[in-house]
């Protein structure tokens, strides 16, 4: 596979490490009352779609960026690649 890095252009996927679902960005608040349930769902439950999937990749042998890749799990076609940091900020994560 080839991942079109937003800063570096097309790179062979073997430079990257795959983590999993984009939703891992949405880490729940550990101090909240329902933290136990929230963290269970966050850590263990997956949509695992057959089709468009937003997933996290890490440019391990490259610029160390975490990326959010939108890819079709049936065809492997990649539609979009973003810097995870930008996505995280857009989702309101801060400190």
């Amino acid at each position: 596979m080839i991942i079109n890095h937003p800063l570096l252009g097309p790179r062979d996927a073997n430079e990257f490490v795959h983590l999993g679902d984009e939703s891992l960005i949405d880490r729940p608040d550990g101090m909240a009352d329902d933290a136990a349930n929230k963290f269970h769902d966050y850590m263990y439950l997956r949509d695992n779609p057959a089709g468009k999937y937003r997933e996290l990749w890490y440019h391990d042998a490259g610029d160390r960026s975490w990326l959010v890749v939108t890819r079709d799990t049936l065809t492997h076609e990649i539609f979009n690649v973003e810097l995870a940091r930008d996505v995280a900020r857009a989702r309101g994560r801060s400190k």
Partner: protein, 981 residues
Amino acid sequence: MSQSFRINGGLTDRSKPINFTFNNKKMVGYEGDTLASALLANGQRLVGRSFKYHRPRGIFSAGSEEPNALVQLRTGAYQEPNTRATVTELFDGLTATSQNHRGSLGFDFMSVTDLLSPFLGAGFYYKTFMWPKAFWEKIYEPIIRSSAGLGSLSMLEDPDKYDKGFLHCDLLIAGSGPSGLAAALAAGHAGLRIIIADEDYLLGGRLLEEDHNIEGISGQDWVLQALAELTEMSNVRILPRTTIYGAYDHGIYGALERKTDHLAHSGDKPRQVLWRIYSKRAMICGGATERSIAFPNNDRPGIMLAGAVRAYATRYGVATGNKIAIFTNNDTGWQTAVELVAKGVNVVAIIDPRDTAPRAHISGVAMIMGASVCNTSGRKALNRITLTNGQTLNVDCLAVSGGWSPNVHLTCHQRGRPIWNDTIAGFVPGGDLPVGQFVAGAANGDMTLGAALKSGHKTATLIAKDLGFTTNVSKEAKADDENFAIKQFWHVTGYKQRAWIDLQNDVTTKDIKQSQAEGFRSVEHLKRYTTLGMATDQGKTSNVLGLAVMAEATGKTIPETGTTIFRPPYSPVAIGAFGGRERGQHFHPTRLAPSHKWADEQGAEFVEVGNWMRAQWFPKSDDKTWRDSVDREVKKTRTSVGVCDVSTLGKIDIKGRDAAEFLNKIYSNPFAKVPVGRVRYGLMLREDGICYDDGTTARLAEDHFVMTTTTANAVLVYRNMEFARQCLFPNLDVHLISTTDQWAQFAIAGPNSRAVLSKIIDKVDMSNDGFPFMACSNVTVCGGTPGRLFRISFSGELAYEVAVPVRYGDALIREIIKAGEEFDITPYGTEALGVMRIEKGHVTGAELNGQVTAFNVNMNNMISTKKDSIGSVLSRREMMIADDQVRLVGVKTVEISDSLASGAHFVAKGEKPTTKNDQGWVASVCYSPHFEQHIGLGFLERGHERHGEIIRAWDGVRGTDILVEIVSAHMYDPEGGLQRG
């Protein structure tokens, strides 16, 4: 044997004879021959035995689709099983032997299976060999295994080198026949960066094997002209002897280039190079493969594909027989006849099941329409054929054409399905091609020359436009279209003799019918039940025929019956080539510690820790065993001073205004308020609450920490912290720099460590008050070299770690040893390190194995409840903090003389070692010179409240079962006075 079947013409160089042997028979061929063409020239008909019935077999094709002519090439460690003679270039001294027979090729004891064939039909083995139970492994299976398989490996290490590489292009063209060359010319002139690859060593495809005219010159001359043009272009890369074996995601293609297979010796150069080709677009111009017709006894040596007979005559100057008959259901068979006759080859008859007028007029050839071949004879070589009209003909070669199958393989590697085309009676590429892939020529169903040239040129021109190369549009080469009419005629029915479909796996029309009768009707079931198309030729000549027969048996059409999926590789690829150069010592990179050179001089034993080589111990002449060395190193360190290279530990510099806040989220114990100049032990959890890593982190400045991780987890910890930094807390001002390779770090431990270091460190108050336990500081060493000093202890002794830039590491270890001479300082390795940490009760990877919680290691009080750190929430799940969980304990053998092994399980006295009675396990052990017995660390149910208890350490796989006493993990200096002193 003389080359009695040579005729004039062809592309072999008669001035360059080449000697070779087949089954120790000396033979001669010419440069430009393949092993197959040379064997045929020498009149060698019988070349191998079939897989199941061990039927005599001869050369069937002239290409990589060959199912029969598989030989063992070369000898000794170079022995290469299952090598297709039809694509093996002849080289001087080539040795080949036939395979899969007991006794000689001519007399194969195993051919008895042929007589038993009525009982060995499809799937017979599923229905028997079940009684008695014990017989399968001992008797039946060994027999099946030894008769199965084809060639054999030498069982010796492959002495050849292999390499890999990466290529980039705008357009990859797979195949150099008419459509491929037309495409290359068009794209080349347009300025695209192109790669054109062909599995053959000569480019030109069928233009080398057939007589044609293009633009008024012969097809072969046109090829030479085209190649001359392409060679001139700097934007064109021509790869002969290169098979595009697979189509992968996003325009990546796998290619195998055979660099030295055509030579007697590969020298010190790679035998093959495996290319990964990154293409913007790709054109598949792989042509088509001819198939046979299933008629009784259609597998005898001398029965060949018509196109192959034509190729041997035209390209190699070899007549495949003295009396040749042609059996064809389409017009290309007639073209073969015309060309053979023109070359003076004796064609006695052409048999065509079509009830039409002859498709051409060929004088001297009996043209028998509306008839078929219904039997043949000649066990080791064909000598007679019988026709459905009762006629018999004495022939030594039968050229068969059952039509052509476009080579759609590469279009299907991403699970695209080809579609059936009735006009050409073959599958053509479907609509769902891999992204960026196009197909032209016969591979796309353009079976005639004119059409192939046209589609090649047209497609390439479109691609050029699409990629923005618009200026040069070259003109298209023109040629006439030959006749290509075909009748869908698959097999000759109504006779009881077997008619073969898959020649290599011995699948006959009977097997297909039985498979249908037993309900294995889906194509995949058919393939799996009969093994149709699963041989080394992957059914290139048999799949379509098999489908057609199954379709007929089920009363369905071929499209309804479907097609199996083609999978990479297009033709088999040596495993060595996929392995490339990453073998032996170079399987993985090797990392060397800064003191490696010095340690090597000391005669240290080294051990792999991940990719690192670490000194395990430093033998002295009077050490009798490795244990003597380790015990000595431990005692010396505990009584005086020792030094150990700990540079392999992961080091990460953490900088930024929010560094402390960041670490407070990463570590489960508090880190926000670590004062500058102090080190703190940190426990790191995975988000799922399991212990991940531990280590010390030093605060060198308000905005600067230095973290150490275990050697094994350095990369992962860094990655996880980058995740936290970028994805979870994107607005913290914190930066990570891995400094593992920047710093050489040495642990100096023992009562005299302070005295030794005082000589190394420039002007630092080393007193206990001036530089107390868990202190850290930037320092200079040996008169000005910038360094870092930490007072931390893994051994439990008064100890320090001193770090300098790696380039000074070698010099520093020598200085430390010098400074330590008066105290008889000892270097110690990973074994002594391990002994001391076990004595002290420190956990490492052996305990923190990814399954263990802070609760298990009695550290759950380190997980702060006042903050939200990674893993804290999930670490509190009920089962993870349940009373009956295993807890970290120390163990001592009850008998001083007993030795303990890690991996032993805890079982109560008098109980059976069963899963139910399993109470835990021993995680790490050592002989402790301090306690003068074996001790260890382990995990035991409720272990924290069972100190003093005597229990068994049961080690069934090593056959030991001893009594141990459960003690606190902190066995050596539990109060920790020594390290603080």
